[in-house]
Amino acid sequence: MAYARLDRREQLTGWAFIAPALVLLGLFMIYPIIWSLWMSFQVGKGMNLSFGGFANIERLTKDPVFLRALGNTFIFFIIQVPIMITLALLFAVALNDSTLRFRGLFRTAIFLPCVTSLIAYSTIFKSMFATDGVVNQALMALHIIGSPIGWFTDPFWAKVIVILAITWRWTGYNMIFYLAALQNVDRSIYEAARIDGVPAWARFTHITIPMLKPVILFTTVISTIGTLQLFDEVYNFTAGSGGPSDSTLTLSLYIYNLTFKFMPSFGYSATVSWVIVVLVGILSFLQFLVARDRRRT
């Protein structure tokens, strides 16, 4: 670089300006991250820790509960993220139609869930899907089911409810990104396509989706991270157990239980945390790979 080097005093001044932020970041982010990596090689219970090498990683492979949590998390991720992204896209396109009446109302209604209190909505979901809850009563009144379904006692339905809940909560959040992107699209592109006889479905798949690709990638990565860290909903629905019989246990909930519920096993729970980090890394990388412009960059 041809710039004149800053002299020492100016350099110091610069560092002094960013020092407070740097110290805080270091203290509350970088240090814990490095410490947790160190922790993940520690074995033992409570405060009684010792270096165990790869013992924790070995334990992972033999821990049925961990494998269960990993499997559950994957199921949530594989099913929930695509459903939510697709729904958010469809809502965004529908609510971008300038001829639709009450657009603002619908937009707000769909966005609102993600700003509601987590506890409030969990509680309402719990009561709605209780054995004598409104959902069972409605389904029975319509003669769709003969006897109440135990939503939270059936392993399959428990997962469905969790997926339903997080989809309800986060679809509107993703939709806002798509709406913002759509509003930047030149309207005449769609008009040209209409005049040229491109059918509506093809306008969606061949024009809207490619044009929203960067935003779709962004929301997919964000949602992937969110789902891999899924904790609050399952904790609230199952009183922290991940039940019935671990069928809704997620990695995050397992980490929580390992740390605060069972005999604390800090080293091992740090290892599980790093599993999430690695998974997020791999999945995001894969998503970038898939979304890469095939023709040119």
């Binding site: 030149d186 592109i189 008009e191 396509a193 209409r194 005049i195 040229d196 006889g197 491109v198």
Partner: protein, 359 residues
């Protein structure tokens, strides 16, 4: 190659009527230009023909078939937008061939049609580029190519050149004129640039506030405007308007006195008008003559003179009226404070107080 017919066409947005009853017939292969000031409804009318806007009242026929409720893609039209409206993620080739895929055209046939259009528009070296890798003029050619590929009966253009720089505009204007000759299709072209209108059109439609002011061939509008609005709109520089009143009337002519030039009066051929009526005299900048060459001379204060080489424009005033006078280049007149020019009544127009022509 279709004719068009609009009868009593209207358009309202809520309570606001923006197209107020348009009747127009467009012959097959005709190049029709809609001109008018901004907001007069040119685009709206074009978009109604395209089917992008619903027609509130009246009938639209294309090729003898009523098209009011026909889907835009089934009207036999293609449209070129001011913003080009290219698909940003598709190459030039894909942009041009995209719509054909949904019309059931075979792959090799699409390739052939795209190739043909690319040849006509000199786009062949650019076929594998994305729109963002093209210049404005090239993008506009792709947009035109996309329209050509569909082989439409009627081309619609909405201010296709207004995003281009002056030089490219002239070039593309000639290009479009050549295309029209080559393809022999009906063209409806919207612009507010009257040079484009004068040079491209077989027929010009002058619009104002959602109504047609006049329809005619370019030179007819220039030589024979129906009213003061058209007279002022067609022609560059703008026609000069001088306040006057009729002082005497005889068979086939009236004598007018200019309000801001006391004592100046002369007879103008016209059979309408009444004595005492306030009128406006219209004189084009290029129709002022040397002193003594016309029926009367007027003396003006010079504000500014622009010397362009072959011609000069003198901006002058008298009694609060601003006039533009076109002169042959006259370097020795530079710096003058006053100018005297003559008016030739046979080249002047008379308008009544409502702006209608008095003939």
């Amino acid at each position: 190659m279709s004719s068009l017919k609009l009868s009593g066409v209207r358009k309202s947005y809520g309570h606001v009527e923006v197209i107020k009853g348009v009747d127009l017939e467009i012959k097959s292969k005709e190049f029709v230009v809609f001109v008018g000031p901004s907001g007069c409804g040119k685009s709206t009318l074009l978009r109604m023909i395209a089917g992008l806007e619903h027609i509130s009242a009246g009938d639209l026929e294309i090729g003898g078939t009523r098209m009011n409720d026909v889907d835009p893609s089934k009207r036999g039209i293609a449209m070129v937008f001011q913003s080009y409206a290219l698909y940003p993620h598709m190459t030039v080739r894909e942009n041009m061939g995209f719509a054909l895929r949904f019309a059931g055209v075979a792959k090799d046939q699409i390739a052939r049609q795209v190739q043909d259009a690319a040849r006509i528009l000199a786009l062949e070296p650019l076929l594998d580029r994305l729109p963002k890798e093209l210049s404005g003029g090239q993008r506009q050619r792709v947009a035109i190519g996309r329209a050509i590929v569909r082989n439409p009966e009627v081309f619609l253009f909405d201010e296709p050149l207004s995003n281009l720089d002056a030089e490219l505009r002239v070039h593309m204007r000639i290009e479009i004129a050549r295309l029209h000759k080559e393809l022999q299709t009906t063209v409806i072209y919207v612009t507010h640039d009257q040079v484009e209108a004068m040079t491209l059109a077989d027929t010009i439609v002058v619009l104002r506030d959602g109504v047609i002011e006049q329809v005619g061939r370019p030179l007819d509008l220039y030589d024979n405007p129906a009213n003061q609005f058209v007279a002022g709109f067609i022609g560059s520089p703008k026609m000069n308007f001088l306040a006057a009143s009729i002082v005497e009337k005889s068979a086939g002519s009236v004598t007018v006195a200019l309000r801001n030039h006391s004592g100046v009066q002369f007879t103008v051929p016209a059979s309408g008008g009444a004595v005492g009526e306030d009128v406006t005299l219209g004189v084009r900048a290029e129709h002022f003559g040397e002193p003594g060459a016309g029926a009367a001379d007027i003396r003006l204060n010079v504000d500014v003179a622009e010397h362009l080489g072959s011609t000069s424009y003198v901006y002058a005033n008298a009694g609060g009226e601003s006039l533009i006078i076109e002169r042959e280049e006259s370097r020795n007149e530079m710096g003058q404070e006053h100018i005297t020019v003559s008016i030739s009544p046979e080249r002047a127009f008379l308008f009544d107080s409502k702006g209608q022509r008095i003939r």
